[in-house]
Symmetry: C2
Subunit: 355 residues, 2 copies
Amino acid sequence: MKNRIPAIRERLHAHGADAVLLSFLPDIRWACGFTGSNGLLVVGSDEAHFLSDGRYAAQAHREVEDASVHIPEGSLLDYAAEQQLIGEGDTALFQADHVTVAKRESFGEKFPAVKWKPVSDFLVEAVAAKDSYEVERVRGAQAITEDVFDALCRFIEPGQTERAIAAEIVYQHLRRGAERMSFDPIVASGPNSSLPHARPTNRKLRRGDMVVIDMGGVVDGYASDMTRTVAIGRADDEARAHYDVVLDAQERSIAAAHAGMTGKELDAVARSVIENAGLGAYFSHSLGHGIGLQTHEWPRLSQRVEHTLPEGATVTIEPGVYVREQHGIRIEDIVVLRADGCENLTTAPKELVVL
Amino acid sequence: MKNRIPAIRERLHAHGADAVLLSFLPDIRWACGFTGSNGLLVVGSDEAHFLSDGRYAAQAHREVEDASVHIPEGSLLDYAAEQQLIGEGDTALFQADHVTVAKRESFGEKFPAVKWKPVSDFLVEAVAAKDSYEVERVRGAQAITEDVFDALCRFIEPGQTERAIAAEIVYQHLRRGAERMSFDPIVASGPNSSLPHARPTNRKLRRGDMVVIDMGGVVDGYASDMTRTVAIGRADDEARAHYDVVLDAQERSIAAAHAGMTGKELDAVARSVIENAGLGAYFSHSLGHGIGLQTHEWPRLSQRVEHTLPEGATVTIEPGVYVREQHGIRIEDIVVLRADGCENLTTAPKELVVL
């Protein structure tokens, strides 16, 4: 891990604050390495303190870097107040986009002499810019998902239900070492595939179906996310034509992607390909999203994102076309953005597979 | 569904408010039946309005009862403000234990003429008191988990890893119709079983291990949760003795459980059995928790819970004993509380199984 506490201090000083209380677990993991389910991290100008409960005593001492570890008996917040881990009169930031109003009230009660200041998106830009260790974790998770897709191509046949395939996806990920799924897999066949976020049903696959398979697993804390669309038995001409448009949009976006462009500019590359094919109305979502310790994280690649994309960001590129009651097609890879282009972390083939 | 909007209105009036904005999805599902992943519910004195986005148009119209359905193009909150779904000058409650500080700020900006009032635990007592439809859903989910345990008893053998067993648990739940898992399964063997919240590792099962298996799946939105502890090949005398104490504590708690007692009183039944056996220091967590649309919901059964438990509450009863580096034992059922006792929704046998 690369000295992340100093990076947090820089942001702290940019906000004119004396300390920050981090409570969002993925940010805490990013900052100090702790992987458990309960913790707080207080970073001040000179000190950093990590707090967790007795269940995580051994784990915290093993995992946490660059912060003193505290394992109080009772409430973490009470302890932080008693020990004055945030000094009286100090200005302290808290994560307004993660802290509930009720929790915020308790900050006020427990630390009456601290000036609390809300901050949103405090670490998103730093978290987005992955270092090589993190890129390799995402690549590793994606490799498992690609293996699963390979196995699925041998497993899928007409007559199977979407749910049976989804169960197989989960099982194959876990057997290959995924800690859990990045999200519940999407297996959407025939008309169901026209819903971008369909949930698996008991519908049986039929000849002529397009099947959207969107899946990912978490390995070493990092998420994968890949979509492939396959045809059962045959694909009709329209489905094939739409597939080619989506693939073209996806490949052109990857060819165009680089750090320093905006999310809107990259989204526009895919959108214009699909619009030029007369299918603009059928591309009903944005192009992609950041991925890492969270499956969906900053930055988004959408028509509304005006900020530039940082170097090292791992993002999905996933255009789609959805024709109500007919079929849906989506193709999704993960790439890492570089100054002069991007590297695709996904190697699974993208020509239309007919099973 | 039983006229839940009127029950919400009663609470509204008890708080002296004109409207409530519900944003916590399990509560929205409970109140109006919507099962999707984005929605808001505004309940006023005379009207109720449900809002979701275009992805859920058909589903919302199909599922939502007792509220008008709105599917705006843009932000749900912007639309609610434009349409004055909360009237100017009105006092409106929001869920302080679920709304972030950043979101709360946006309420103020979008509804400048509304008086916002935070409320915590707004619906927990009503949600806890399950009707017969809900009890049957929990029973159904639990039945699937019991089937999975049956299958596991044939699957488990020395040499298998905790992770392989966890993968099997997930697969068998999904194949039996679970929508997803209630939580990542715990499979903790030998010394690992002494950690109440251990995550599955690549450790292989050995003769003499105790193995704690804690698992549950979600069916029709309702969660199951069951723990059994099995022995591999044989159990040593101490493990057997501890097993008997935990089982005795669990059965006595179930025999004593009824609506109207406090969580503390019920916890004390199990705790005193374990303390009388000289093992009090090894029972390091609380006795149980409410379960339903959420895996962990109000009420908790712990030493600190002084309020009474409502009739119809479905709660877990799960005492445990954990001897560091040696073994852990936990036995967990779900019961539904009645005025004069409780009904166990779990039928899986509890004598020690040696595999």
